[in-house]
């Protein structure tokens, strides 16, 4: 399966978690694609941590406003009914529990719902940006990532990289599976139609609680 198809599948599945009226923050990269798979006329309100709500699609070429970009510096639009604010208010919204769902990428996730997605010591240290606040503050944290990296498991018994936040992840969506984080551990809720429970288990270091597994809509 190509990277693009994997990513589209993940984004599409997460889009189905978003409901009208929700306030949603999408991380940079794969998570940003989630917005592309919402039904037309949806009423999901996207928050952009650089300072506004009502984040809309990219503008037509030549209609970019240099003051309207997403947190990844790409030109976007502000939909009617949107509102702008400063960075303190942006994180009042984020840290204060006013974001219903955040979708974030991950380097590692573990059985306790710990997340590592901001640095690899000695290699990449881009900084956490808003990720630590988003993970701690959003009511629901959904991790969007490919199931493995170069064949190595990313869903671990215990994260090895520096953490972004402890015990905050609620759901993990990969091209192979949908996994819920519960107090008891990771529950395998859905698997993709082109894989098996055995295969998912094999690609996952963490213990999966397997009970009533559905087929993921792709």
């Amino acid at each position: 399966m190509s990277k693009d198809i994997k990513r589209e599948r993940i984004a599409r599945r997460i889009a189905s978690e978003l409901q009208d009226g929700m306030v949603v923050n999408l991380g940079i990269g794969l998570p940003t694609q989630v917005a592309n798979f919402l039904p037309r006329g949806n009423d999901v309100l996207f928050q952009s941590e650089n300072g506004f709500v009502g984040l809309g699609p990219a503008p037509l070429l030549g209609h970019e406003d240099p003051n309207v970009t997403n947190a990844g510096s790409q030109p976007v639009t502000i939909l009617p009914g949107g509102a702008c604010f400063d960075s303190a208010m942006s994180f009042v919204i984020i840290r204060g529990g006013h974001v219903d769902v955040t979708v974030l990428g991950a380097l590692e996730v573990d059985e306790a719902g710990n997340l590592a997605n901001w640095m690899v010591p000695g290699k990449i240290v881009p900084g956490m940006g808003g990720a630590m606040d988003l993970t701690v503050g959003a009511r629901r944290v959904i991790v969007a990532m490919e199931h493995t990296a170069k064949g190595n498991a990313k869903i671990l018994k215990k994260c090895t990289l520096p953490l972004t936040a402890i015990q905050q992840v609620d759901m993990i969506v990969t091209e192979m599976a949908v996994i819920e984080v519960t107090r008891q551990g990771l529950v395998l809720k859905e698997i993709a139609p082109d894989t098996t429970v055995m295969e998912v288990v094999a690609q996952t270091e963490a213990t999966l609680i397997i009970n009533d597994v559905k087929v993921m809509e792709v």
Partner: protein
């Protein structure tokens, strides 16, 4: 004519080597490029720079990093400027990475006369190292201290002659916070309008915070 209007040179005349400088903007949106150019021209160095990020190598705070004007950087994100990472790894520049919401609150606290704030962000991560943890109703928080600076260099859209400021869209970001937290606040603006042209309800930064106004020389963001 505003009594606060200065040339970039006049506005930064007193800036010394080693100064602590807050610089507004988020990935160069809402960054005072004219004032950054003036720092480069002026030649001050050993700065402690506080900003959301370090921009790009050829834009925004990134230009100061590339020209090695900062001995220390406090930012939430430096990934868009590989030179910052290189200097950090080489031990040439001290880089303190701070969660974005924490940085916003620290700057705000500095302006508000608060000693600090308690945030749940960073608990259980390396961000908590060396910080006091305080438990409230069974939940842990980090005590994060207020930040202040010698200079805040900010970018606003319009000023009136009193220095009251309004911002445009996502160019607001850290600018109104930094405007409260420094001894000398220089606002780079696209336009200065007469007193009374801004409605009191639309003003985001009251002019009392602004020491000097500088007209943007870089191309305007519109």
């Amino acid at each position: 004519m505003s009594k606060k209007l200065r040339t970039p040179e006049e506005a930064l005349r007193e800036m010394q080597n080693g100064a602590t400088v807050m610089i507004g903007g988020f990935l160069v949106v809402g960054t005072p490029e004219t004032l950054i150019e003036e720092i480069l021209k002026k030649g001050v160095t050993d700065l402690t720079v506080i900003g959301n990020d370090t921009g790009f190598p050829e834009r925004g705070i990134g230009k100061l990093i590339v020209a090695k004007r900062a001995k220390k950087v406090l930012a939430s994100h430096v990934g868009t400027n590989p030179e910052t990472g290189r200097q950090m790894h080489a031990g040439e520049t001290e880089v303190v990475l701070i969660p974005q919401g924490t940085l916003a609150e620290q700057v705000r606290a500095g302006g508000a006369g608060l000693g600090g704030i308690l945030t749940p962000t960073g608990v259980g991560t390396i961000v908590e190292e060396g910080k006091q943890k305080i438990e409230i109703n069974g939940k842990e928080f980090l005590l994060e201290l207020a930040l202040q600076a010698d200079y805040a260099l900010i970018k606003a859209h319009k000023a009136d002659e009193k220095g009251n400021l309004v911002y445009r869209r996502a160019a607001r970001n850290f600018n109104p916070l930094m405007a409260t937290a420094a001894k000398i606040v220089v606002a780079e603006v696209d336009e200065i309008v007469p007193i009374g042209k801004l409605d009191p309800d639309e003003i985001v930064t009251p002019g009392l915070f602004v020491t000097y106004l500088v007209k943007r020389e870089a191309p305007c963001d519109e």
